[in-house]
Symmetry: C2
Subunit: 444 residues, 2 copies
């Protein structure tokens, strides 16, 4: 039996950094996995429980957001046109002093509402009150890798607590939810804390999601204070003994990249170009990173820096930014941008064999994109249109883990009116900065 | 009598680089001009011929595209991941050998379809067969400043021909159409040709729209070959004796900027950041330019480099790009980005007193934008949302010269099906590159 049959799609297929469009296919889904991709018409419609007539829409893997702080959507538009120091100390860490668990529950839903509309089916989220985030993910039908943020200033007790969170939620919701240890960063977690986090991750078979070397200034400060780069600190503390998601690493040195390239364990860098440009952090040279075999995934970071959680933007800014950075228009090609957005993001997210590819046996996280708009016509190159023309509003239907969660832009899991009704009364309190003590001070 | 009354808008108002949102207004339009902006409800609805109930949408001036080659949308997606030399010699100038006047008529309509959907109400277009472009603009109801491109290799006769075009079309369609002399660039027009163009522009009371110093390599080549920068060449040839739209000027030297700053006549630079990133051309430092009093407008350039004609993208990339370039997140603020997109683009376009501002007496080029989407919520900052969150698909209604040309995303002037029906049979011929001699060779 086929649970879901998606008829008449053109399917994006990426292999070894070449991109092809397979025209006129039907995708059959059984349970939560892709069963087959075959020429349209080959499968009897009466065999399928649910049929979607896609009418020539483009099918591609759902986007995977490899680094986010989803509930920060609650504060989007606050903290504009400021430098990194002010952004942390005058805005974020004061605003976050207001945060309640219920804010996370509703803010997570709001951010997922936006992500689902943009075709994002999975998110590696690094934030607070993640028990509440997990419940929201359960409801939304998205896939998530959840990490409860930790500062060493809040005590060693967090390590047991977040390990308990990992054990409770890892594998929940039919495997849609995975969990990970999430010490915040080497500048907010001391060595002892990092070591204990790594040991615990190893002990419970988990990994680490951590910010590192967000800017070159952080690397310089670390060298001054500790004689080591932030990435050397992580290495020495044993973080790289477990699978690791590194957020940013913009300030990685050539030596740091050698350390990362030599590692045997799964590790990847989440690349969040809109945030990097907006906060003037500089860009990683992804051409170099990838030549070293270091995986790169797309991330949105939080919406106070990134303003949206839109990975079409992240993919486009990745391609444009690398051409600009290298001064070479032939660099970071369209197939490479699409590879980063799909299979390579799946690798950073920790499910390289299950996500980021439309193929039999893979998990059925599929989005259907309408490329018939005036901004795509004539469709001389489907792959160019995906990287340089497509907008979140072109996404029509979103399938995650075999379930349709948005159909022709209608949400089937989340209730927009309910979410707004719960957030609206919170906003005045959430926006308060006056008199608040920040939850931390940024002084790396 | 009021011809058009737009009720219940929040109106974007920019003054001296500060941005305010005037809540709950009604905008009254008489003929092609804004008559009043008043608190909602103050005007009797029965006084108005047409009423739009905007229900809290955001009203702002239509975007002004200060540099484009609109009919190139026909080739979008061809010419990807190549450097500037290959882009010209292997793609554009071979493809353009296929171009017919009717291609321009339909390609222009296609590009305007896209621009209207994105809230662009005016375009400075620099292209071929502009008689046909003008007829398309007449039909679309958009505003355009049209220049017939000239290479000196095609002979001095073009100067009289394009002057005749200017005289025939300048002021047509109730003033929506203006025309300008358009020598291509100093590397495709010799000094004699440039001088004759400038003299003719002066004689007929017109201006010049020209590409200059597109890359730093062009400036270096010009210095090697002629001992002058491209901008010095234009100055010496008298171009700056008339109002001038300079496309790009990315390769302008510090000395060039002094020349431009010292000029008394209207002059502005069209800034096309998506194209610059895509072709690895580098960015202008707009902070420096603007400090010198040089006006900067947004441009899309052609869709073979820019892929879309979307100025939301151009505005966003302008802000992000300048923060990245200067390494200072406080630079190119939200109000500055909005000023560049509105009144400053109007200045570059040559109608600073009539466009780019919602105020009584100005021409009624107004767009209504829906900011209720999940990607804007909560709307903590309307102006931040315009620069960093809004998408072309958020534009609901477009008014140009007092006429509604798109209402709730329904086109009222252009016929999408008709346009596609006319373009589809042309595509195979248009895409041909094999065996074609290019219309020029790029070798600056």
């Amino acid at each position: 039996m086929i649970d879901l049959l998606i008829r008449q799609v053109n399917a994006l297929q990426l292999r070894d950094e070449s991109a092809e469009i397979r025209l006129g296919c039907d995708i059959a889904v059984s349970g939560n996995r892709i069963k087959s991709i075959s020429p349209s018409g080959a499968i009897d419609v009466s065999q399928a429980r649910t049929v979607i007539e896609a009418g020539g829409q483009l099918a591609m893997p759902g986007f995977i957001n490899t680094h986010a702080h989803v509930p920060m959507v609650l504060w989007r538009g606050l903290g504009e046109d400021v430098n990194v120091e002010s952004w942390f100390n005058d805005y974020i860490w004061k605003l976050e002093a207001n945060l309640t668990p219920e804010d996370v529950y509703w803010g997570m839903q709001l951010g997922m509402l936006e992500m689902i509309e943009a075709g994002v089916t999975a998110v590696a989220d690094h934030y607070w009150h993640m028990e509440y985030a997990a419940r929201a993910v359960e409801k939304a039908g998205m896939r998530a890798l959840l990490g409860q943020a930790m500062f060493s200033a809040n005590g060693m007790g967090q390590i047991d607590e977040t390990a308990a969170f990992v054990k409770r939620w890892h594998g929940a919701a039919n495997g849609r939810i995975r969990a990970i240890m999430a010490p915040h960063a080497p500048y907010t977690c001391d060595d002892e804390f990092l070591r204990a986090s790594a040991r615990m991750a190893e002990q419970i078979g988990s990994g680490i999601h951590i910010h590192v070397a967000e800017t070159r200034a952080q690397t310089q400060a670390s060298l001054r204070q500790r004689g080591q780069t932030p990435i050397e600190v992580l290495e020495e503390c044993g973080i790289f003994q477990v699978p690791t998601v590194l957020a940013h690493a913009v300030g990685a040195t050539a030596g740091d990249l050698e350390i990362l390239a030599d590692l045997r364990l799964p590790l990847g860098i989440a690349h969040c170009p809109k945030t990097y440009a907006k906060l003037a952090m500089g860009y990683n040279n992804l051409v170099d990173l990838r030549a070293l075999g270091i995986s790169v995934g797309l991330g949105s970071d939080g919406a106070v820096s990134n303003n949206t959680l839109d990975l079409w933007e992240a993919m486009r800014l990745t391609a444009l930014g690398q051409k600009q950075l290298t001064g070479d228009a032939e660099k970071l090609t369209i197939p490479q941008a699409l590879t980063i957005a799909t299979s390579e993001s799946a690798r950073v997210y920790g499910q390289p064999d299950e996500l980021g590819d439309l193929a039999p046996g893979k998990l059925a996280d599929i989005i259907l994109v309408d490329l018939s708009g005036a901004h795509h016509y004539p469709l001389n190159s489907v792959t160019a249109s995906l990287v340089y023309n497509a907008r979140a509003s072109d996404v029509r239907t979103v399938i995650c883990d075999g379930q349709v969660i948005m159909r022709e832009r209608e949400h089937l899991t989340l209730d927009r009116a309910e979410i707004i009704a719960h957030i609206e009364p919170r906003l005045q309190r959430l926006r308060r900065r006056e008199g608040a003590d920040g939850i931390q001070t940024y002084n790396p």
